[in-house]
């Protein structure tokens, strides 16, 4: 199979934008992605598009993929909407990589968007809630905060993970997000703030939960045959992995980890022929603070049960051994469901292109993105690698 490369990526700011539509937000992200390509990029060269959205917020519109590609002038370009809950555009990126690797496309657009802040909180809970196991899990009175809180309770019970360690995830990600102009909650928070916030679903408090957001993100994936037309400093999609599992937590083999993430990571590492130790940064799916700690273990950054120690050690802070969620993560940067996976790729692109500004990791070679749907019904992992750095070593 051919190699696939990431030649451009861009996003809108994440936040609440009553003056914007889902189409205008997508336009912003698309333009930013096109502009980010080092050499000239003509949108006419796009062969295929994959667009992730949970359903245009709660609207549940059909054909919501073509609705945005048509808006940016890609009439006629085959477009497929990808839906895997919060992992929608992570899987859209994977689809674009598959299309390029298979030879069916030379240039593929992967994007995602969501508009979440224009509905009442009850209406929002409705369409978010339906991404879970409705008949039993929701009927026991939980939304996702409750399900992740149950995972936290099991992790705390089994490994002694503490509430303070959960709060440290928020402190770290807010510190990073404060350096990201696109972040929705781009302010720092103290450990005290992050420990004293109102409880949402014990042990999770408000600072352990990501916000609802409007936003869009796009990435451009091209084949090895055409990559030289766009850049002299190519970023290779070195590894791709994905997994699925029971949609309801109660039907999984474990509550202290996300088996779909483990499978996705193992596949991606194998394809990239690397170990977790070879990574220089990672964007992981921290919809709730416990989710970031579970990701540390599922992605092999530490052994099962040691995530609490890892966050406490500072290793995952900016400047640490393996900075995690330099963008601010879902917690601080925001979580416009369908945009999130592609948005993680935007951060990977910025870091590997040296354009991450204040939050730049020093000359990174490899970065990982990790996007989870629901509470672990689906997960996708990508490893991106800067070729010049690989060759130089």
């Amino acid at each position: 199979m051919r190699d696939a490369y990431l030649v451009g990526a861009g996003q809108s700011a994440y936040g609440a934008f009553p003056e914007e539509s889902y189409r205008s937000l997508f336009r912003t992200a698309f333009d930013a992605a096109v502009d980010s390509v080092p050499d000239e990029f003509d949108a006419d060269e796009i062969d295929e598009a994959f667009i992730g959205t949970l359903g245009v917020g709660g609207r549940q519109l059909g054909l919501s993929g073509p609705a945005v590609t048509e808006h940016v002038g890609l009439d006629g370009v085959p477009c497929t909407r990808v839906e895997n809950a919060c992992a929608a555009s992570g899987f859209a990126v994977r689809q674009a990589v598959q299309a390029v690797k298979s030879g069916m496309a030379d240039v593929a657009l992967a994007g995602g968007f969501e508009v979440m802040t224009d509905m009442s909180s009850d209406a929002t809970k409705y369409w978010l809630g339906v991404s879970g196991e409705t008949e039993w899990e929701r009927l026991s009175g939980t939304t996702f905060s409750g399900v992740y809180a149950q995972m936290a309770s099991a992790h705390m019970n089994e490994y002694g993970t503490t509430r303070e360690q959960l709060s440290r995830v928020a402190v770290k990600n807010h510190a990073n997000g404060a350096k990201n102009p696109h972040a929705q909650l781009g302010f720092e928070c103290s450990l005290e703030d992050a420990q004293s916030a109102p409880v949402v679903a014990d042990p999770l408090n408000l600072y352990h939960c990501c916000p609802t957001s409007d936003g869009a993100a796009c990435a451009l994936i091209v084949s090895e045959d055409v990559v030289d037309d766009y850049t002299d400093d190519p970023i290779r999609v070195a590894g791709v992995g994905a997994g699925s599992d029971s949609v309801g937590l109660f039907q999984r083999d474990t509550y202290t980890g996300v088996p779909a993430s483990r499978r996705a990571a193992e596949t991606a590492y194998e394809m990239a022929d690397i170990d977790p130790a070879d990574l220089d940064f990672a964007e992981v799916h921290d919809c709730f603070a416990i989710a970031e700690l579970l990701a540390y273990e599922d992605l092999g950054f530490c052994e099962p049960g040691e995530a609490g120690d890892l966050i406490e050690s500072g290793a995952t802070e900016l400047g640490g051994d393996l900075p995690v969620n330099t963008s601010g993560g879902l917690k601080s940067k925001g979580h416009p469901i369908g945009a999130t996976g592609a948005g993680q790729v935007v951060e990977a692109f910025k870091q590997l292109s040296g354009k991450a500004g204040e939050r730049q990791v020093e000359t990174p070679t490899r970065g990982l993105t990790h996007n989870v749907g629901g509470s672990g019904g689906a997960a996708v992992v990508h490893v991106f690698e800067r070729q010049q750095e690989v060759s130089a070593r």
Binding site: G129, S140, T142, G146, A154, V200, L249
Partner: protein, 501 residues
Amino acid sequence: MTAITAVGAYTPRFRISAAAFEEAWGHFRAAGISEKTVPAADEDALTMGYEAATRALEAAELAGGEVDWLAFATSTPPVAEADLTARLGAMLAVSESATRHVFTGSTRAGTRAISAGMDAIDANAAEATALVVTADAPMGHPDGELDHAAGAGAAALVLEPDGPAHITDRAEFAQPYPGTRFRNTGDDETQGLGVTQYDRRAFTQTIGGAVAELERERDPDVAVVQAPDGKLPYRAAGAAGVDTDAIRAAATVHELGDLGAASVPASLAAALAAGTESILAVSYGSGAGADAFALETAGDVPARIDLDGDATLSYAEYLRQRGVVTTGPPSGGGAYVSVPSWQRSIPQRYRLEAGRCPDCGALSFPPAGACNDCGTLDAAEPVELAGTGTVEAVTTISQGGAPPEFAPHQSRSGDYAAAIVALDAAANDRNGDGDGNRNETADANTNAETATLRTVSVPAMGTDAAPDAFAVGDRVETTIRRIYTQEGVTRYGFKIRPQTP
């Protein structure tokens, strides 16, 4: 001849004192009541009836399938039209072809059900087993005498041709007394005109009339008399031909409040459980009518009586639990399950019907789709779970954490626990049914492997205890409660509570 062969009684765990009403209103209108029971937000006459019925069946050592005749009696049915005995029978695993009756429209409904049960046993002679389930949760205007007196509770009686407590005689009596306690069609609140002497006359005349119809001269040890409040029963002493001490000996109203259609059955159950030898029981239903029964016991009546409370409410909490000051559900929600989907899952929601994999023996819940353990698509064999289990993961849902359908429940009951529980297989099914494919000694050599044979994980909401009463590793038991109401249809299903020792 008809005998009561087992009894069960239940009240919700919540209590409110007369003093709490006095503090809120400046007065308490229900004479002779010092404390009363309050139904939890997820309880109604049907769920309380289920609680009492399971206790009576347990005391009788009877399975639901052995019941031939089932009656449900209440003056406050959660729906005005729809046969609630279909649901109650399914919750109790009563045969689908058993005879069923609903009695309502009066606080006399409970004793009408007993009387009808006696008729059924007389008609069917030796083989008949009847289960009379009575439950009530009256509700009136917040500043009315009726609401101040209103309690909540349930009692269930097993009737058979012969047993330790014989009903030796019965009689009934009715005279028109319009304007006593009544509830017009479409209303939620029961009311009365409050013409004191008129109400009192209706009560004593009908009770006196029924007792007078009993054939034998009698001097019972105790007299169980309908108790709309803590004073009225004693006014009927003369009419019933008993002294007030005999009434006081069986009275539950002072601590439980007005149990409506369950008033006489619950006090009767308590008196039988206490080993009382001769009992006069007489009910009253406004309108007005009365049923009187004479009972003689010889030997202990198997009983499980749970009439104790464990949590005291303030008046504000009382209004919240009863839904007086809370709003209904918002439209739409993440936990919407269509009624037909719900109906298909009733064996799971009511009876914890799980599946056992024909290939690997693992349990599955709900029993649908590929086996969670070995992935086979062969249909699972239905198995019932034990109704006990262990908490594996748990959270307390606070503000903002509840799906919108549960917002009304949360505003009434407060924060609640939501857990994943490993439910136990039934005792007679701990290791599967012995299918040769399941080489248990060889294969079940790790905890993880045997766990899927012995338990199955399900999500469940906590009830009957504060949310912090549920922690990982705790033992719990299931019960049936209101889950939520959508499109006007209340969905009932299992919840969990700390296991009773």
